[in-house]
Symmetry: C2
Subunit: 374 residues, 2 copies
C-alpha cells in the first residue's frame, strides 16, 4: 500500500535499497531501437504489449519509436494507460462483467479503445455497455490458433461471431486477435516456425471467409517476442503484439535461432537487485529476493555476471545461492543483479522501476498498472 | 499503484469484482479461536507471523485473543505494523544494509522491536544503528535447525555470537530464533515429528550452553502451522510463530495427522474470487485469475466446492480449468472461489482484503504491508 521508492535520483547503483526492480537504461533503449528497426521494414505495425511493463512512460517511449499504440490484458491496465495519455489501446483479451465493461466503455471518451470477444452473449454485454455510455467500441474476434485457451475456432465460428459484432449498433468489427501464446517459448526455430505457420493458415483462412461475407479486418493481431518475425512475414498479420522484447528474461533468452544458437538480438535490461543477507553456512549464500520479489513460474532467475554462482531455491523472502567449488562466496551485504525467469509477473511485484545508466540512478518510474486486480 | 477496492461494504459476494482476495470471516475467526485455545493451555506464547497477512487489523485480532505480538520478515512489514499500533514486533530474519537498520532502529522509539543475526559483522552494524539512534535493540541469534538457509550452527557458534551481542552497549541478547521451515510441509506426522525433535535438541543444547556462560534466552522462537504443537510441547520453545493458520491454504491442508488423515482443525478462510471469462472450447473454461492473482509456487489452487472442476494451468492473467466428463462446464460470467496453494504470496498480490460473512461484504481491509520491497 505504502511503498517508498528504493532509491533517489543521482545515487550509485550499489546504494539502491533492495530488493529493487532495476532497468539498465542503455540496454532498454537499445532493445526499443532494435525492434523499431525490424518493424519499420516489415510491412506491419507494432502495438507493444503493456502487460510486460505496465507503464505509460514506457508506452510513450515505444510509440515515439513508431509503435501505433498498446495492448493490455485487462481494463485496469487500459485505464492507467489512458489516464497517462496513450491514445490507442487494444484489450487483447475478453472482458467479462458489467462493471468492467462500463469502465471500458467510459474509456472510449478519452482514447481509442478496442476489446476482444469469443462469445455471442459477451458481444451483447459489450453492446449494452457501449449503448449505455453512448460510445462506439471496436471488437475483435479472438480465434484459437493453437494455445487452447480463449478464442473461438477459426473459420465459420469466427465469421458468425464477427457478424454478430457487425450487426450491433454501438460496435464495429475490428478484426481478429490470433495470438499463439504457447508457441513463444518453443526452444527450436523449427518448432516455433511450424506452430506459427499453422496459426497463419488459420488467420488467413478466417480473413478470407470474413471477406466473403463483406467483413474486412482492420487488425489481425498477435505474435510475441519469441515469434514476431514469423507473423510479420506472413502477409496476414497486420499488428505485432510483442512485449517482453524491451526487457528480455531468462526464459526468452533460452530460445534458439535457426542455427541453434541463443537469440541475442535483445539484451537483458531488467534486473532485480538483491543483497546477500546471510552466508553463515558453507557453500551457501542467501539473498533478500525470494519469489515475492522475482517470479519463478518460468524458472529460477539467473545471477548476472557471476560465473559459478547459481540461484537454486526461492522461498517467500529468501533466495538461496549455490556456490561452485573454487568460486568466492558472495559477502554479506554484497549486491547482485538477478535476471528474472519471467519479466511480466516480476514487474508486477514492484511499485517502482529504478532506471540506471552507467552505474547511476537516472529516474524512478511508477509501475503504474501493477496489481492482481481487474 | 492505484487500486480501487473491488467491492463495497454491503454488496453480495457475487457482485464483487474479480479477481479479489476474499476472507470468509466466520472461518477466519474460528481459526483464530482454535489457535488461541490450543496455545492457552500449552505453556508457550503465540507470536503470530504477519508475513502471512501483512495487516495491522489482523495483528490486533490475534493479539486480542492472546498473541503476545507479531513476527515479520522485513523492516517494511515492521514499519507498517508499528505505525498501526502493534506494540511488540520481532523481525524473525536478518536485516542487512545501513538504511534498513536505521529504519529498524527508528522503530524502537514507538514499539518494542527485536531482530535476528547470524553474523558478527552484522551484529556490529546493528549496534552502530542502535547507537546512532540512541536506542536499545534486542537481537536474537538465528540458529540453523535443519532448513539449511540462514542461521549459525547450534552450539558453540551460536554462543560466541550471543556473547558478541551481549557485549554490545546498545543491544540486548534476546534469545534464539530456531525455525525449521522445510519441516512445515513434510506430509507425514512422523516425518514432521522427526525433523522437529532434532530442531528441539539443537535448541535445547544451545540454550544450555548459553546458560553456562550466563546468558538466558528470553525468547526461543520458531514453529509454523505445520508443526507448532510439537515445538509447543518441547519445553524449550517459548514462542510459536505460526502464521498461515488464520487462512490455511491447499498446501498446508495436504499435511496428515498421526492417523494419516488430513488435518482439519483449521478451515480455509482465504479465497481468490474469480470469474469465468471464456468457455469457447469444449471441456475447458478459463478464469480471470492467473498466477498474477494466485501464487503457484506451492502448487495450483483448488476450486472450492465444485467437484469435477480442476484448476490445471496458470498463465499471467488466465487460469485454465479442466472439466471432468459429466460435469457441467461453468458458464461465462460465473464466479468461483479458489483456495490458494500458498496463502502468503497470494495475499501479496493484492491491495485489499474483502471480508465476507454469510454472502455479504462486511469489510474492506488494506493489505497494508504488501510488496516486493524491503
Amino acid at each position: 500500500m505504502l511503498q517508498t521508492p528504493p532509491a533517489r535520483v543521482g545515487m550509485a547503483e550499489h546504494e539502491i535499497d533492495t530488493p529493487a526492480l532495476v532497468i539498465d537504461l542503455e540496454a532498454f533503449e537499445a532493445n526499443l531501437d532494435v525492434m523499431a528497426g525490424i518493424i519499420s521494414g516489415a510491412g506491419v505495425k507494432l502495438r507493444a504489449h503493456a502487460k510486460t511493463h505496465k507503464s505509460p512512460v514506457i508506452a510513450h517511449l515505444q510509440m515515439a519509436r513508431g509503435a501505433v499504440g498498446q495492448c493490455v490484458q485487462k481494463v485496469a491496465e487500459a485505464e492507467v494507460l489512458a489516464w497517462g495519455g496513450v491514445p490507442d489501446i487494444l484489450v487483447s483479451n475478453e472482458v467479462v462483467g458489467a462493471d468492467k465493461l462500463a469502465r471500458l466503455a467510459a474509456l472510449a471518451r478519452i482514447t481509442r479503445i478496442a476489446v476482444c470477444a469469443d462469445d455471442a452473449a459477451q458481444v451483447a454485454a459489450i453492446e449494452a455497455a457501449a449503448a449505455s455510455a453512448d460510445v462506439t467500441i471496436s471488437v475483435l474476434v479472438e480465434i484459437d490458433v493453437g494455445a487452447g485457451r480463449c478464442g473461438v475456432a477459426p473459420g465459420p465460428d469466427a465469421v458468425a461471431l464477427a457478424q454478430v459484432i457487425a450487426a450491433s449498433p454501438h460496435l464495429t468489427f475490428g478484426g481478429l486477435q490470433a495470438y499463439h501464446g504457447s508457441a513463444q517459448h518453443v526452444r527450436t526455430h523449427a518448432g516455433r516456425h511450424a506452430a506459427i505457420a499453422s496459426a497463419c493458415d488459420d488467420a488467413r483462412r478466417t480473413v478470407e471467409q470474413l471477406r466473403q461475407v463483406g467483413l474486412e479486418c482492420a487488425i489481425v493481431g498477435g505474435a510475441g517476442t519469441g515469434t514476431f518475425e514469423m507473423e510479420a512475414a506472413s502477409g496476414v498479420y497486420t499488428e505485432i503484439q510483442a512485449g517482453s522484447y524491451c526487457f528480455m528474461d531468462a526464459d526468452y533468452a533460452a530460445n534458439l535461432d535457426a542455427d541453434g544458437r541463443p537469440i541475442s538480438r535483445f539484451r537483458h535490461s531488467l534486473f532485480v537487485l538483491s543483497t546477500v543477507m546471510s552466508a553463515a553456512q558453507p557453500g551457501v549464500a542467501v539473498l533478500d529476493a525470494g519469489h515475492k520479489a522475482v517470479a519463478i513460474d518460468s524458472g529460477m532467475p539467473r545471477v548476472w555476471q557471476r560465473p559459478g554462482v547459481s540461484y537454486v531455491g526461492a522461498s517467500d523472502e529468501h533466495g538461496k545461492l549455490s556456490i561452485q567449488d573454487g568460486t568466492a562466496v558472495p559477502l554479506v551485504g554484497e549486491k547482485l543483479r538477478l535476471v528474472p525467469g519471467h519479466c511480466d509477473p516480476t514487474v508486477d511485484r514492484f511499485d517502482w522501476y529504478v532506471g540506471v545508466r552507467r552505474g547511476r540512478v537516472e529516474c524512478l518510474w511508477p509501475v503504474a498498472a501493477r496489481g492482481g486486480f481487474a
